[in-house]
């Protein structure tokens, strides 16, 4: 059998297609309320998932066994790679990463089907059927477009080409799986939305079912994007962590809609509003994961870390059209048939809001505005990412937009979202009385004004000016206005961060006070109880703190300085407050590469703070593609970051790009806090609370005197 490993892998993929299609058919039939069929569908799904696992293991074995007959193995591995890197190569290229994608979708499908046992009986068949459609689609793509088990033409090479050296990095090993976890898990909420539309069960049932799944997606999109930022910062040598590259944008888009969804479902749960909106956001989140895959894998958009051009674009485009049309049809059906009797004799829930917004000073208004803004950012980033292609179609010339364009238009919108993020917790449902609102906002507003005042007064002296000059990106009135606005964003950001942190602090303080008023507890005990009992609320607040700190880190970009210099040994260059002296170069070798380091001694105020060793690596396997290794000194308030361009050992001359990046550590801290908050909000609630649930309802009911 080992002589036919590629054929075995291909056969397993064919079997996956057949069993997924079989399971889809059985699940659809089970929707009539047939228990035997439903059980069969569940088992069929498990079997399909196990088969996909087998396919992944076959490819993993091919990597470990250096089976270079398989083209993918020959292209992305070589005999010098360690086992860990060989396994990471599973998702290092187009074909394998799609198999990995299929595998993760299967893992989530299996988890969802296992979790659904004993609940959501009416939704289950449609959820399984929808998940199987996704599996069928991915199987078809792999069988007909990017078969990871395809063999090389002719005899197998003695050694492979090896994994791209930029991918031989710890963050690259963990970043794609984390991002894929976020992407693939969005299929589950999408399947629930489709099931809800099909069955007409459009109440809170599917919303409650999907919240944690979407939270999971959100959490892993956050972690994946964060790891991607670290990887880009350390490996790509851009001088920063985010460059609005199409691949980065593709992973940001579903994060934005998932964030909007996690807020808007609260409104549906509490007030029965935003039903259309929630369906739209779930479908959009899933669609955007497909869109991201489409633009980065089809060759439509050029990017430094996009996959090579392939024919899968057509398949993804067709599937996206199917999803869009399918969702529209289902939405129309739900709209038209709402309130009528469905197939199983059950009245379909009408897809209408149960109530409306009663006041502008209500939490639902703030959430709605925040949702719209996030959706606007999503549309803007999507259009800007696609602009090279769109301009070619519309204007007959290819135009691209750079990072400055995004940095001009996105931050003002994002800061409005940050303002609403601070404002919403201060508002009550339905309406907020003037007195209550003034009382709530007083402390945060004072904190914001104080922070802004201090920034204006002391900022320039401390090297963090409140206003910065910005060059207009557009040579018209819009460009001028936007440059004026963006130039003032540092002080606005500082004020909004102070506002948000005070809001969260105030919320915690109020919670602790309310808890201690009820029972004698120490502050720490009360704080612990708050976190334990209201994980959703306080986990959310922790995310808010993380995002606020993240934005403060982003503001640091405005105060960054950079310089380019060619230096001989002993020469120095001044960047910001730092003096960098070129100390010479050194060369090292290992089994696979030659490394040339250029040493820079870094001084601050005449004192040495460390040595930077940016380098050029020249790999024996690809000598024409040297890679740049970043040299970095991280301090609590800023990073000194150097990239070496050219090192001439004979003339002892080297060219450098040097950046001083303030507040980068806050970016990482913000990401960690946001992820922790997501984890807290996602953590399962205790069973003890379930047991006491209706005692609580009765207790609350008692003073009202309502009939039990």
């Amino acid at each position: 059998m080992w002589n036919s490993l590629p054929e075995l892998g291909f056969a397993v993929l064919c079997a996956v297609l057949v069993t997924a299609a079989f399971t889809f058919g059985v699940a659809v039939r089970a929707a009539d309320g047939r228990p035997r069929w439903l059980r069969s569908a569940r088992l069929g799904a498990y079997g399909t998932i196990a088969l996909v696992g087998v396919a992944v293991l076959i490819l993993a074995y091919a990597f470990v066994a250096h089976d270079f007959r398989i083209r993918y193995v020959a292209h992305y591995s070589d005999r010098s790679m360690s086992t860990a890197l060989l396994l990471a190569a599973l998702w290092g290229g187009q074909d394998g990463s799609l198999l990995w994608w299929l595998f993760l979708t299967c893992v989530f499908s299996g988890a969802a089907i296992w979790w659904m046992k004993g609940r959501y009986r009416e939704l289950q068949p449609y959820v399984i059927a929808t998940l199987m459609v996704v599996l069928v689609f991915l199987s078809v793509v792999m069988l007909f477009a990017v078969n990871p088990f395809a063999t090389v033409a002719g005899a197998a090479p003695a050694d492979g080409r090896g994994l791209n050296y930029q991918l031989r990095n710890f963050y690259m090993i963990v970043h794609p799986p984390a991002l894929y976890l976020g992407f693939t898990s969005t299929a589950v909420p999408f399947a629930f939305a489709v099931a809800a539309l099909l069955t007409g069960r459009l109440g809170n049932e599917w919303i409650v079912a999907t919240r944690k799944w979407m939270l999971f997606s959100w959490l892993f999109l956050t972690i994946g994007n964060g790891l991607g930022m670290i990887w880009a910062y350390e490996e790509l040598g851009w001088g920063g962590y985010w460059n609005w590259d199409p691949v980065e944008n593709a992973s940001l888009l579903p994060w934005l809609t998932a964030t909007a969804y996690l807020h808007s479902i609260t409104i549906q749960e509490r007030r029965g509003m935003f039903k259309h909106w929630n369906v739209l956001l779930v479908c959009a989140t899933f669609l955007l994961t497909l869109f991201g895959t489409f633009i980065t894998r089809s060759g439509l958009i050029a990017s430094v870390h996009a996959f090579s051009k392939s024919s899968i674009g057509t398949f993804f485009l067709a599937f996206m059209v199917l999803v869009v049309v399918g969702c529209l049809v289902l939405w129309l059906v739900a709209l038209l048939l709402g309130g009528r009797t469905g197939l199983q004799g059950r009245r379909r829930d009408p897809l209408v809001n149960e109530t409306g917004i009663e006041s502008a000073t209500s939490r639902e208004s703030a959430f709605l505005a925040q949702n719209w803004l996030q959706f606007a950012i999503t549309l803007f980033v999507m259009a800007a990412t696609l602009w090279p292609t769109l301009s070619e179609w519309l204007l007959r010339r290819k135009a691209t937009v750079g990072a400055d364009f995004y940095n001009t238009f996105v931050p003002p919108l994002a800061l409005l979202v940050i303002a609403l993020m601070g404002l919403a917790p201060l508002l009550g449902w339905r309406r907020t009385s003037r007195e209550l609102f003034v009382r709530s906002i007083r402390a945060p507003a004072i904190a914001a004004l104080l922070a802004a005042g201090l920034h204006v007064g002391l900022g320039r002296r401390l090297g963090v000016p409140p206003f910065v000059p910005i060059e207009p990106v557009l040579q018209n009135w819009l460009g001028t206005v936007m440059a004026a606005i963006v130039g003032k964003l540092p002080v606005v950001t500082v004020a909004l961060v102070a506002f948000n942190l005070t809001v969260v602090g105030q919320e915690f303080a109020r919670g602790v006070r309310a808890r201690r008023a009820r029972q004698p507890e120490s502050v720490l005990e009360a704080l612990g109880s708050l976190l334990a009992r209201s994980r959703r609320r306080y986990g959310g607040y922790l995310v808010h703190v993380g995002v606020a700190i993240l934005f403060l880190g982003f503001a640091g970009r405005a105060w960054g300085t950079h310089a380019e210099a060619s230096l001989r040994v002993g020469q120095k260059v001044q960047v910001g407050d730092y003096t960098l002296v070129y100390a010479g170069s050194r060369e090292e070798h290992d089994e696979e590469k030659q490394m040339v380091f250029a040493e820079l001694d870094v001084q601050l105020g005449g004192k040495g703070v460390g040595r930077l060793s940016p380098a050029k690596y020249v790999y024996e396997a690809s000598p024409d593609q040297p890679s740049s290794e970043v040299g970095r000194i991280s301090r609590w308030n800023e990073d000194v970051y150097a990239i070496v361009g050219l090192v001439d050992r004979r003339s002892e001359m080297a060219s450098f790009q040097i950046h001083v990046n303030p507040l980068v550590s806050l970016v990482w801290l913000g990401l960690i806090l946001a992820s922790l908050g997501g984890l807290v909000a996602m953590w399962p609630e205790g069973l003890v609370r379930r047991a006491g649930a209706f005692g609580y309802v009765r207790r609350l009911d008692a003073p009202a005197g309502a009939a039990k």
């Binding site: 079997a15 059985v26 309320g33 047939r34 228990p35 035997r36 069929w37 059980r39 069969s40 569940r42 088992l43 069929g44 498990y46 079997g47 399909t48 196990a50 696992g53 087998v54 293991l57 076959i58 993993a60 074995y61 470990v64 066994a65 086992t83 046992k117 004993g118 959501y120 009986r121 939704l123 809170n204 049932e205 409650v208 079912a209 749960e269 509490r270 009550g428 449902w429 339905r430 309406r431 907020t432 009385s433 209550l436 109020r510 919670g511 006070r513 309310a514 008023a517 209201s534 959703r536 609320r537 609630e685 609370r689 379930r690 047991a691 209706f694 609580y696 309802v697 609350l700 009202a704």
Partner: protein, 288 residues
């Protein structure tokens, strides 16, 4: 009989153990151990092969079971049957409502909501909670009636006897709920004298509240007749909210316990009737 019953009860704890789960965990642990051993001794290649082999066997076994379930060869297990009859996501809905009430209470305490809004929103949530409980129970009652009818029909069709109510069941002597196999002579006598089956059918009709008359199904020659019992598991109409919110786990335990100790007949007796019907229909190869 007493001696057998005593022997059975002394081994009862053994029968109670969830052997299937243990087996699953054991096999899983064995595979993990074998993989780890292979990885340590022979490298990653063999470990991957072991995992792949286990995965392939799992896939084949699961898909085969799926096909068997589809063609009706596989009797539905009790847990599946119960799960199928469980209220759809009601627990999650209840929890969400509880959370809403708790949040409201919190917002009141920290002074974020006015008295009037607190009263109005609280009343709405409580009404929803009560409605959920009420709808839940009403749906179950309706389901139970329909299922009792189905079970009675099915049992009557198979020539089985369903006891009409608890009072009658309470009067039964201590015996396995699934009655012993009748002797061939009894079966033959029953077949030879159609009138002998009449009281059983009448009994089944009596069991089905609101149900129509059941149709007697002709029995093939030599078919064996069994007695089975059904019991009302329906909460009393005046059941409190607490009894309605009884954790599902407790019922499942009861169900498992009954199923293991007394076999299929008492399974029908212990689990909610909807589940019993699903189980009965599915195991007989019929769709309800």
């Amino acid at each position: 009989v007493t001696h057998e019953a005593t022997a059975r009860s002394s081994w009862h704890w053994l029968q109670e153990l969830p052997w299937r789960s243990y087996l699953g965990v054991g096999v899983g642990a064995g595979i993990v151990l074998a993989t780890a051993l292979c990885a340590a001794l022979q490298g990653a290649g063999l470990a991957i092969l072991v995992l792949g082999g286990a995965g392939l066997l799992t896939a084949i076994g699961t898909l085969w079971t799926s096909v068997r379930a589809l063609v009706g060869e596989l009797p539905m297990d009790v847990e599946d049957a119960y799960a199928l009859a469980a209220p759809a996501g009601a627990d999650d809905q209840k929890r969400a409502l509880l959370r809403a009430l708790e949040d409201l209470d919190y917002e009141k305490r920290v002074g974020k909501i006015s008295e009037q809004d607190f009263g109005e929103l609280g009343a709405r949530y409580r009404a929803e909670a009560k409605q959920l409980l009420g709808v839940d129970e009403a749906a179950r009652d309706e389901e139970r009636r329909a299922v009792e009818r189905l079970v009675a029909d099915r049992l009557a069709g198979l020539g089985l006897e369903a006891l009409p109510d608890r009072t009658q069941e309470d009067e039964l002597p201590a015996q396995p709920a699934v009655a012993e196999e009748p002797t061939d002579e009894e079966s033959d006598a029953a077949m030879a004298a159609p009138a002998a089956g009449a009281p059983r059918r009448a009994s089944a009709e009596k069991t089905a509240p609101g149900g129509g008359p059941t149709r007697p199904t002709p029995q093939p020659h030599g078919a064996r007749t069994r007695r089975a019992t059904t019991r009302r598991d329906t909460p009393r109409p005046q059941a409190s909210a607490r009894s309605a919110a009884r954790p599902a786990e407790r019922r499942t335990t009861l169900m498992r316990s009954s199923a293991r100790s007394a076999g299929c007949g008492s399974t029908i007796a212990a689990i909610p009737p909807a589940a019993a019907a699903a189980s009965a229909e599915a195991s007989a190869g019929h769709e309800p």
